[in-house]
């Protein structure tokens, strides 16, 4: 392995950016491919698959054998709002492999009694997200219904290109939210990425069912990353 390649790979991994290490098993040459880099042919197809699935594999391409080692940051879910839905969502998401952090400045809601074993911040999103910024391997679900708490986080999630951004509220509530986000400087195309009403349409009624809908939508967003641009996902 090239020492510079190892150094670069570790930099990407530390910064929570996805990278695929491509090693030619014939001559040992290696290189880093970052998400979004264009690689042609069969090798490019295999690299795109590695980014999407996170699975590493040996592939035959152009008459050679390559090993693709996929280094994807671990996805996580940030929930704005220590509410009833979040109580169900936190353990479900953790089981599905998405560690959860919950942010809610309302200390009556954000208590360890209501959220055992969850990373819980009884603080404003402004403070927490400055300390630990959002990134493209983070999903954000805003479920407080309170613009004072949700709006900053939603704008930050759009700016950080979170792979999933969802906001609780009816279409009417969302229409007002869109106005506020435009006033905060968000672009219309950015705002169109927000899933609202939140969650896959499975007819969810109870808080736990809504949590299932949100988690399913998060997983779908994660596994279809990059496909929107090619029109493969509606």
């Amino acid at each position: 392995m090239d020492p510079y390649v190892l150094k670069t790979l570790n930099e990407e991994r530390r910064a929570r950016r996805a990278a695929v290490l491509v090693t030619d098993l014939g001559d040992g040459r290696d290189r880093i491919v970052r998400e979004g880099d264009q690689v042609a042919g069969e090798l490019g197809t295999a690299i795109a698959r590695a980014f999407r699935t996170g699975n590493s594999e040996s592939v035959e391409a152009e008459g050679r054998t390559f090993f693709l080692n996929a280094h994807l940051p671990r996805p996580r879910l940030v929930v704005i709002g220590a509410v009833h839905i979040s109580q169900a969502l936190a353990p479900m998401a953790r089981i599905a492999g998405y560690p959860v952090e919950i942010i809610d400045p309302r200390t009556a809601f954000a208590t360890p009694e209501r959220f055992p074993d969850v990373a819980l911040h009884a603080e404003w999103p402004e403070d927490v997200l400055t300390r630990t910024p959002l990134d493209s391997y983070t999903a954000l679900a805003a479920v407080t219904h309170d613009p004072k708490i949700d709006d900053f986080a939603l704008k930050a999630a759009l700016d950080a290109r979170c792979f999933y951004v969802g906001a609780l509220g009816s279409r009417k509530t969302h229409a007002k939210r869109v106005e506020r986000l435009l006033a905060l400087g968000a672009g219309a195309d950015q705002i169109a990425r927000i899933h609202a009403p939140i969650g896959l349409d499975i007819g969810a009624a109870s808080p736990a069912e809504i949590a299932v809908a949100v988690l399913a939508q998060t997983i779908h967003a994660f596994r279809s990353r990059g496909l929107e641009a090619k029109g493969a996902v509606a």
Binding site: D2, L6, R13
Partner: protein, 112 residues
């Protein structure tokens, strides 16, 4: 289960390999590149080895690490990468094997 979203720098093989390199040590990196059947560590897993035989990480459940470390010392010496294959102990030419019944292919290369 490690739930941190950040690298566990004290135990991450590739971070350790980079640290060894900075300390001027000779290093080999072993990577699981293929598995068949039941395999204890997934494709992409690393074992990193220095010239004194210190190692971190894993390519199996401890079954073949000893053999990989020995091979790695040769690779550090020669600079030539090797592909190793391990299966059930008595079905392969290797003295060590995987009791789980799986087979793995491990690529061993020198860093630099």
């Amino acid at each position: 289960m490690n739930e941190s979203i950040y690298l566990d720098e004290a135990r991450d093989p590739l971070i350790i390999a980079e640290g060894w390199m900075k300390d001027g040590k000779d290093v080999a990196i072993a990577t699981v590149v293929e598995t068949w059947g039941s395999a204890p560590r997934p494709v992409g897993s690393h074992l990193v080895i220095d010239a004194e035989g210190n190692f971190h990480g894993s390519v199996s459940g401890g079954c073949v690490e000893g053999a990989v470390v020995t091979e790695a010392m040769d690779v550090i010496g020669s600079g030539k990468a090797r592909m190793l294959e391990f299966g059930v102990a008595d079905e392969t030419a290797w003295q060590v094997g995987l009791s789980c019944g799986g087979r793995i292919k491990v690529y061993v290369e020198r860093l630099g």
